[in-house]
């Protein structure tokens, strides 16, 4: 019997896709992989990169995120597997890692992997992500299970309502992965029409308060992305965001994701040199 890895590489071969594993020297676009727990995020990650989950360390925090790479057509992509969460607004550490990356890491595409058999539950996180960025793709995964349960999804209607590409997949068999890659490319290269993108409308009074706060934030941090989202959280009284503002954490967060990943080999060299000289 072939190993899981072997099976994946066999069943999942797409013209113009090159799985680059951990080859992260340079990339054209960054893709963040977000979604509820147990939706098959890592299966999507592994089948695009050819990896069996790789974890790496990043400066600033001692947390493990998985990172990999692939190339499709003319572009190279770095893909970051974020912790699975139900929300970006509660106060667990996992959720903060996911939300900080989407907010401050500013990925070119956020790929949301959803469980097609629990669509309603999964759309909560989807809407929270769309509140931060319209540069997203919704991957309705586990379609084989959905079909078995007799669930039918009108993905065209969903796509129209959300304003982002909606792709149905069964990642463990590689089904739908080519369409998914195409959608990622469309959003990354800005070929996806932006005028259709999702916008949450709020009452005018709230809108005024958001604007006032946004301009204050922009004065304090001219490069701060997603000021609207941060303003909304401040109005909501989100303690974590209020603290981040009080303790001036935003600059640090913005910088931490601009740096290239740690070169572990270089670190090792330094370590060896130090040991040899002592």
């Amino acid at each position: 019997m072939p190993s899981e890895h072997g099976l994946l590489s066999q069943t999942f071969r797409i013209h113009q896709l090159q799985k680059l594993g951990v080859n992260l020297d340079k990339w054209d676009y960054v893709v963040a992989l977000a979604g509820n727990p147990n939706t098959g995020k890592s299966t999507v990650f592994n089948s695009l990169t050819g990896l069996r989950q790789h974890t790496g360390n990043w400066p600033g925090k001692t947390v493990n995120r998985a990172e990999g790479a692939f190339s499709y057509k003319d572009n190279r992509y770095k893909i970051v597997d974020l912790p699975g969460t139900y929300s970006l607004l509660s106060t667990s550490e996992d959720e903060e890692i996911a939300r900080n990356f989407i907010l401050f890491g500013q990925p070119d595409v956020t790929l949301i992997v959803a469980d097609a058999t629990r669509l309603e539950r999964n759309l909560n996180l989807t809407l929270q992500i769309l509140e931060i960025t319209p540069n997203a793709v919704l991957c309705l995964n586990l379609m084989d299970e959905a079909k078995r349960k007799g669930i039918k999804i009108n993905e065209k209607a969903l796509q129209q309502r959300l304003g982002i590409p909606v792709i149905t997949t069964t990642a463990r068999y590689g089904d739908g992965m080519e369409a998914l890659l195409y959608a990622i490319e469309q959003v990354a290269t800005d070929a996806w029409p932006t005028q259709q993108r999702f916008k949450i409308t709020v009452p005018e009074k709230l809108e005024e308060s958001i604007h006032a706060l946004e301009s204050d934030l922009k004065e304090l941090y001219p490069d701060l992305p997603n000021t609207r989202w941060i303003a909304l959280r401040l109005l909501e009284g989100d303690e974590r965001v209020v603290d981040a503002l009080k303790n001036d954490e935003f600059s640090g967060l913005m910088n931490s994701f601009q740096q290239p990943p740690l070169d572990l080999n270089a670190e090792l060299d330094v370590l060896n040199t130090n040991e040899a000289s002592s």
Partner: protein
């Protein structure tokens, strides 16, 4: 309206309200887990000590304590 803590094991009902006693981050967390007015909730089983209790909502089973279920209300069936 009846508190969710009264819902008998094996029974389902529709959530009608989250009481004002649950606020801030706690309320947010419940909403994110699928506890919101209109959602159907089923009391699946109890833990050995009776607390917490397991409920199914939106296709997933979650555990809730009495401090929470006393302030989550469902429609009478």
């Amino acid at each position: 309206m009846a508190p969710l803590s009264n819902l008998r094991q094996g029974k389902s009902s529709v959530i009608s309200k989250i009481g004002d006693d649950i606020s801030g981050a706690q309320r947010r967390r419940l909403l994110d887990l699928g506890i919101y007015p209109g959602a159907t909730i089923t009391h699946c089983f109890n833990s050995a000590t009776g607390e917490p209790k397991a409920f199914e909502v939106l296709g997933s089973v979650i555990a809730l304590r009495k401090e929470q279920t006393d302030f989550i209300f469902t429609l009478e069936d």
